[in-house]
Every structure is written in structure tokens, then in C-alpha cells.
């Protein structure tokens, strides 16, 4: 398995032509998908997350034991970075009165009513469950792939998905 440690990077530039070309190809193919993943995970700045994930890959690509695992590395980085951002946000943000919504009204208006309800319910799930649900039902990843992206066991993924679905069903069930 590739080195999927998405922890702090040293910041040391590690670009060479081979790395950059390989990562550039992956970037062309997958960057929009990673932005969308960060968006669905609730990142405040999805492009910032996706760019940082690819930047980490650029720095570490040469040390990946299995270059074919680069996509899994980026996906895991997006998950970790988004999760970290949420934690950081929790620490620095001032508690504001209820009803404070960071999502733009434009975006909300553009969503179908039904989809808005689903996404609102999804946003209420604990972060790990939300991750598992998004990876499963948007990216159609297998339990094994989700486990790698989230850094947990496949059994935990199964638990997150089933409990997440149950929670969604409870919230949305009456409206189904």
C-alpha cells in the first residue's frame, strides 16, 4: 500500500520533471472531482483543500512506494484536510446565534427542495459518517477504498455508512 500519511508536510520543495508530469496528468483528470469531494464534505474553501492535497502529492510523490496509489493519497488528503479544517474552525470560531449559515443563498436557491433537505440532513451527521456516506454514494467507492481514504477499518466504514443511512432515514423518512 502506498504511504498514505497525510500528516504535516515538511514544506520542502520536491518537484522534479517526472513528478510534476505525473501529478499534472492526475490533476487534469481528477482535480474537479477532488474539489467536489471537499465541497460535499463541507469544506469552507474546497479549491484550497484540493490544491493543498495535490501540492502534498507533488512534494511526496517521489516517496510513494506505489505511484499507482497517488489517487488514493489525494483522496485521503482531501478527507483529512477537510476534517482538520473543521476542527480548526471549531476552535477559532466564535459561537454565533442559531441560524448562522455559511452556505450562500444563491447555492441554496439553486438546489431542488428535495435535495436541499437531503443535504441539510447529511450536514447534520457527525463528520466521519458524512465522509463515509459521500465516499460511498457520490464516488461509489468500495468499503476497502473508503477505509483507505478515511484511515479506518472496512468494518468501521460499514458501521458509519449503515448508521449514517439510518440517521438520514430517520430525518427524511417521513418525507420519502
Amino acid at each position: 500500500m502506498a504511504d498514505l500519511d497525510a500528516g504535516p508536510d515538511t514544506g520542502s520543495p520536491a518537484l522534479d520533471g517526472t513528478n510534476e508530469a505525473a501529478v499534472a496528468a492526475l490533476f487534469r483528470a481528477r482535480y474537479p472531482e477532488m474539489v467536489r469531494l471537499a465541497n460535499l464534505l463541507g469544506a469552507d474553501d474546497p479549491e484550497d483543500i484540493a490544491q493543498e492535497a495535490f501540492a502534498r502529492l507533488l512534494r511526496k510523490h517521489g516517496s510513494l512506494r506505489d505511484p499507482a496509489a497517488a489517487l488514493a493519497y489525494v483522496r485521503a488528503s482531501v478527507c483529512n484536510l477537510t476534517r482538520n479544517r473543521h476542527r480548526h474552525l471549531r476552535v477559532v470560531r466564535l459561537r454565533t446565534p442559531a441560524g448562522h449559515d455559511e452556505e450562500s443563498s444563491e447555492q441554496i436557491a439553486m438546489l431542488r427542495e428535495d435535495h436541499r433537505e437531503v443535504l441539510a440532513a447529511l450536514a447534520e451527521l457527525p463528520p466521519r459518517r458524512r465522509e463515509a456516506i459521500v465516499l460511498r454514494y457520490w464516488l461509489d467507492l468500495s468499503e476497502g477504498e473508503i477505509a483507505v481514504a478515511m484511515g479506518v477499518s472496512p468494518g468501521t466504514v460499514k458501521s458509519h455508512v449503515s448508521r449514517g443511512l439510518a440517521a438520514l432515514a430517520q430525518v427524511l423518512g417521513d418525507k420519502a
Binding site: 482535480y31 484536510l81 476552535v91 466564535l94 459561537r95 443563498s105 447555492q107 454514494y137 448508521r163 432515514a169
Partner: protein
């Protein structure tokens, strides 16, 4: 496949399709890697800034930060000396500033003068990374002094900075980053008015930084245009109540916390009883300040429900413990966190402010336990006779 799964797929697909994609994303990604990763001493820089704008007046500033006497390879251990060339400019934050220490600059520190009404403030802006957690990514930092600001600041991701901003009675200073192709930025207000922003581009800035000061409580749409006047990006920001400054008195030191629990650095958490009008709430509210000036303020009157309020439970990367803390009403003698596996963490409440009818509490929980299904964790309040007087599932938002 059931209905919920169908609805999920459709909703996710629709929402995903709404993610804007920056055409210059690759260039920006590569720039992150090629950017100097850490400050190499204190740079010697002169920073030109954009011209003054309609509402926010900006005075072109120049900061000269000379290399420290030690000439080391990092910010630590160097002693910057500042020679602002703009009359009246205060000294930039020095090496002792908590944000300079936590997020050492990898760019110039750019001073920007803001004049709103009769209030003058200076905002110092730089890019850096959290010393203790560089994996958080590039941080946009700012410290503002003068006017209604008292040297407070924050380091956060550029996107978070735009949403959070500094807030005071004079408005909310928003820091927004953009491509260098963006030549104008305005905050469009619900009443049809707009406020122009000003840009700053200093040495080592990966992106252009804009400051704009829309009215504090107004939602606004930030509109960025290129030289041809074409809109290249829109960003919605939500209005905020002013963030109260940490009171100078009346605090009750609640507990000391280790690094990576309440904040990245170790410190002491202090509780204050505040006038709720500061955040748009009737009555008194309880707020907690960490040693790094981060604050957590309950959004509900302390005299009303809930009888037990928890404002903790978070942690920072790689943290080992989560500190749970909050206040409780006078009839609550003990607060307990009960996990679904039966484990419990608890603390006796202690007296709060005389005459307030409030008590305070805190306890630490290993992160491994705190991550246990937030919705199945229960906060209980026990009276002096041991009876349960309050119980509530923890919300998912902590």
C-alpha cells in the same frame, strides 16, 4: 437500492456540479510547492499597495523588516526591527506577538491603514504556517490595532478569513484572497450599496490579499472583477455580530489545558459573564477565552435553557484529550458525560459569579472516547441529592 440512497445520489450529484473550478488551479497548486516553505529570517521588503478606495481609505504602507542580529534560517531566534515609512504607523507585530510565534511569516508583513468614519486602524497582514501544525496549510494572518481594535488578530485559512473577518462596531474587516488577475473587489450589500475593497500584494504573497469593510451585520456578496470589468468570482459572506473583546475583569479561571486540546498551544481557559447584547442575545451570556484569545460564547441567555451548556469537546490535530466545559444552573451540582459503552466522565460544578445563579464545570476526555458517536453521548446534570435534573444528547456540531 432504497429511496434514501436514490435521493442521496441525486442530491450529491446536483450539489457536486455546483462546485466552481478555478482555471488557474494547477498554477496555484505548483506555486504552493515552489513557494518558500519557511521564513528565512526577517525579509527586507518594501511593499507597494493599491490606491485608496471609496469607503475604506488605505494609505500606502511600506514595511522594512530587517534581518535579525542572529540571521538564522527561521523566524525563531531573530529579532526584527521595524521602520515603517508611513507617518503614524505603529510598529508591526514583533517576535513576541502570539500570532507571529504560532504562525511565523513566510512572506512580508504588510501594514494597511483603514479609515472608517473617524476611526483609524492598522491591519498587518502576512502568510505563514502554523508552527505546531504546518499540515493545516497556508494561513493568512492579520493583526489589527487602533480604532475599535486592540491588537487582536487571527490566523486561518484564507477562505475562513473571508467568512470570519474581524468585527467591531465600525464594521467587519474581511480579508479575501484572489488571483492576481482580479483588479477590483466590491462588497455588494442588500440595500444596493457597495463597498470597495483595497488590495495588497507583498513579497512572498502567494495570492493577492484584499481588505474590505462592509457593515458588520449585513450579508454581502463579494464581487471580483478583472481589468476588463468581467466578474471572475463571487463569494457570499454572512453578517456577524461584533465579536466581544475579552473583558478586562470579572473572569474566573476555570482550568489549564494541554496543547492540542482547546487550542494548539497549552493555556488557561477563563470564563466571563457577558452582556448578551454584544452578540444579539437578550440577557447575560457566558463566554470562555483561551490564552491565545480564541473565544467560545454561548449563543443563548445563561438564565434560560439549557440548564447545562457545553461549549467544549473539540480538539486540535493529534490531540490526546478533549476538554469539555461549560456552565450550569444553580441546581446542578455535578455534570456527567455518559458514553454509549457505559463509561462516564464527570465533574462537580463550582460557583460562578456571585448572584448570577450560575455554576461552572469542566473535565477532560480522551479523544478516543470523544470521537465515539457524538449523537450517542449524553450530558447529564445531577442535583445535590443525586437526582437527574438535566439530560441531553450532545449535538453533532461540537
Amino acid at each position: 437500492m432504497n429511496t434514501i440512497e436514490d435521493r442521496l445520489r441525486e442530491a450529491l450529484r446536483e450539489r457536486a456540479a455546483q462546485s466552481p473550478i478555478d482555471p488557474d488551479a494547477w498554477t496555484r497548486t505548483v506555486a504552493r510547492v515552489r513557494r518558500p516553505a519557511k521564513a528565512r529570517g526577517w525579509p527586507r521588503i518594501v511593499i507597494p499597495l493599491a490606491a485608496a478606495a471609496a469607503v475604506v481609505a488605505i494609505v500606502v504602507g511600506a514595511t522594512v523588516l530587517t534581518g535579525g542580529p542572529h540571521g538564522g534560517s527561521g523566524a525563531t531566534g531573530t529579532t526584527p526591527s521595524a521602520s515603517p515609512s508611513v507617518a503614524g504607523a505603529p510598529a508591526p507585530p514583533g517576535p513576541g506577538n502570539y500570532l507571529i510565534k504560532s504562525d511565523p511569516p513566510s512572506s512580508a508583513i504588510v501594514p494597511i491603514k483603514l479609515v472608517v468614519g473617524k476611526q483609524t486602524s492598522w491591519t498587518f497582514v502576512w502568510f505563514g504556517r502554523m508552527k505546531t501544525d504546518p499540515g493545516e496549510g497556508i494561513q493568512l494572518c492579520s493583526v489589527t490595532d487602533g480604532g475599535n481594535y486592540y491588537g487582536g488578530g487571527v490566523c486561518a485559512s484564507p477562505g475562513l478569513q473571508a467568512q470570519q473577518g474581524y468585527v467591531s462596531g465600525a464594521g467587519s474587516i474581511r480579508l479575501i484572497v484572489s488571483d492576481k488577475q482580479v483588479t477590483s473587489l466590491t462588497a455588494e450589500l442588500p440595500n444596493g450599496h457597495s463597498v470597495s475593497g483595497v488590495s495588497a500584494l507583498g513579497h512572498g504573497f502567494p495570492e493577492k490579499v484584499w481588505l474590505v469593510n462592509p457593515p458588520t451585520e449585513d450579508n454581502a456578496t463579494i464581487v471580483m472583477r478583472n481589468a476588463a470589468g468581467q466578474v471572475v468570482k463571487r463569494l457570499s459572506i454572512t453578517g456577524q455580530y461584533p465579536a466581544p473583546s475579552q473583558p478586562r475583569s470579572g473572569g474566573i479561571k476555570l482550568f489549564s489545558y494541554p496543547a492540542h486540546s482547546v487550542t494548539t498551544t497549552a493555556g488557561t481557559l477563563t470564563a466571563y459573564l457577558l452582556n448578551g447584547s454584544l452578540i444579539g442575545v437578550k440577557g447575560k451570556v457566558v463566554g470562555f477565552w483561551g490564552s491565545d484569545s480564541s473565544s467560545m460564547i454561548a449563543g443563548v441567555p445563561a438564565s434560560g435553557p439549557p440548564a447545562v451548556e457545553n461549549l467544549g469537546g473539540g480538539w486540535v490535530d493529534h490531540g490526546k484529550v478533549a476538554e469539555f466545559f461549560g456552565y450550569a444552573h444553580a441546581n446542578v451540582a455535578r455534570v456527567v458525560l455518559r458514553l454509549p459503552d457505559g463509561r462516564q466522565y464527570s465533574a462537580q460544578t463550582t460557583a460562578g459569579w456571585p448572584g448570577s445563579g450560575l455554576r461552572l464545570w469542566h473535565f477532560a476526555v480522551p479523544v478516543a472516547a470523544a470521537t465515539f458517536e457524538a449523537r450517542q453521548q449524553v450530558i447529564l446534570g445531577y442535583g445535590t441529592a443525586g437526582q437527574v435534573v438535566f439530560d441531553k444528547l450532545l449535538s453533532a456540531d461540537y
